[in-house]
Amino acid sequence: MDLGTPWDVEKIRADFPILKEQVYGKPLVYLDNAATTQKPQAVIDTLTHYYAAENANIHRGIFCLSEQATKRFKSARHKIQEFIGAGSDKEIIFVRGATEAINLVAQCYGRAFLKKGDEVLITHMEHHSNIVPWQILAGEIGIKLKVAPINDRGELILEEFKALLTSKVKFVSVVHVSNALGTINPVKEVVRLAHEKNIPVLIDGAQAVAHTSVSVRELDCDFYVFSGHKLFGPTGIGVLYGKRELLEKMPPYQGGGDMIRSVTFEKTTYNELPYKFEAGTPHIAGVIGLGAAIDYVQSIGLSRIEAYEQQLLQYGTQKLQEIPGLRIIGIARQKSAILSFVLGEAHAHDIGTILDRQGIAIRAGHHCAMPVMRRFNVPATTRASLAFYNTRQEIDRLAEALREVTEVFR
């Protein structure tokens, strides 16, 4: 795989202050990037500078600071639009995260355009955030949730998906990259199949945008959601992309300031997109910080990031497979750099504790994807999820610590 110009991982690591930290006297090995990613200095500085020198509310001040904050806020929205290849910045709605974005669509699109007996089709590898909002909607208006199965590799079975795409299905919501398995779904094909039947599609891109370049125009999806904190940006900020014509006809999510054009006690008219869905003062610092994170990612380049992470994944897969008794859960042919595994009789939490004392941060548990755990008949897995600042040496340390686990549980 060609990385183009030389990949200097040490130089990249120097941009992330937390990677110099020690845990229990050992250098931190951070392998929980699917939960949240670390922040480069550029993002931290942007947040600090905003609060230290630029803080003001947006869209209302007639003073310098407010105008400046408004400008920065708007420019971040534009940056995000270009980052995901959306046609207009009116299609970029700020929310708290991918979870809130899915809830927004389930509530606003679902309650307005779905009715009792309609079906929403998801897959067996969804995060709870793409299951529960639809179940809430099911309880409210009587839609039905249908689940497309996955195979033993952890891949969506496209034939079964097609078969489930009956005339009763009125909405499709599918994860782009599985947080528990690493599977990259053929989302373009999913969208094509659904659109053949005029069914709108939401893609949950929480695990995708930091690792591969995404173009919503190319995917032709109707909604795309992601979280800023998994993209090296702040927590509490996320994005809902929606096609303009759909967002236009959807009712607002919450009522309040900013989302209105005029208010009387008799009648309120709503503001235009994107403000219609952004009641109240938004997370201004978060938006500007997310803009800085995108600048940072683009300065490295997503195609280079993807190529490097694929190399790391290959190396990590091989290293882990050499450990006796270790079984990787999720071996899709198209896979992101996520290594979910079980190790002999050792429970994921015991593994987590032992790794932690070696300074290695991984996730142990069901990864908010209980149905996936049940599908593979495991109570929990241990998950190492990689980012472009991870190294082969860190994977070696993981493998070494896992050998210690097998020693403890011999």
């Binding site: 429970h347 939490h349 504790t353 548990g365 210690e404």
Partner: protein, 151 residues
């Protein structure tokens, strides 16, 4: 190997995890309670057979990590034949031992073999594992009708 880790995963804990005592359902149990920590997934049932005031039999089943399972196993071994009051008292001592401040001493004479779990307090995120079976046992002994969780 890291000393704290050896302290936590002593051989006796590993042995109880591998071959837990009284690890079986009890179809004729007089009392059953369920303990579940949804975030981490530890899930056990504790069964009791009381004869008057005495725990005639006690068992557990379910799944969880080595700490939760070995703690449950040792608990059943320690409580068989004890009175309610003694069980309540041991619960208190174990609770104190597990949740004490790091570095603080505890009265090892009151907990017997269970002192092997003393190292758990060095791992705050694992105290909930070690205490799950105990709280479940207490619910079986003094039912409130709730599902137990220590998260």
């Amino acid at each position: 190997m890291n000393g704290d880790i050896r302290e936590l995963y002593q051989q006796m804990i590993i042995d109880h995890n591998k071959n837990p005592k009284n690890f079986r359902p009890m179809p004729d149990a007089g009392r059953v309670a369920e303990g579940y920590n949804p975030l981490c997934g530890d899930h056990f049932k504790v069964y009791l057979k009381l004869e008057g005031d005495v725990i005639r039999d006690i068992s557990f089943d379910g799944s969880g990590c080595a700490i939760s399972k070995s703690s449950a196993s040792m608990m059943t071994a320690a409580l068989k034949g004890k009175t309610r009051e003694e069980a309540r008292a041991l619960f208190e001592e174990v609770r104190k031992m597990l949740s004490r401040e790091i570095g603080k001493p505890f009265d090892a004479t009151k907990v017997g073999k269970l002192a092997i779990l003393a190292g758990v307090c060095e791992f705050p995120s694992r105290v909930k594992c070690a205490s799950l079976a105990w709280h479940t046992m207490l619910e079986a002994l003094e039912p409130t009708g709730k599902q137990v969780s220590t998260e």
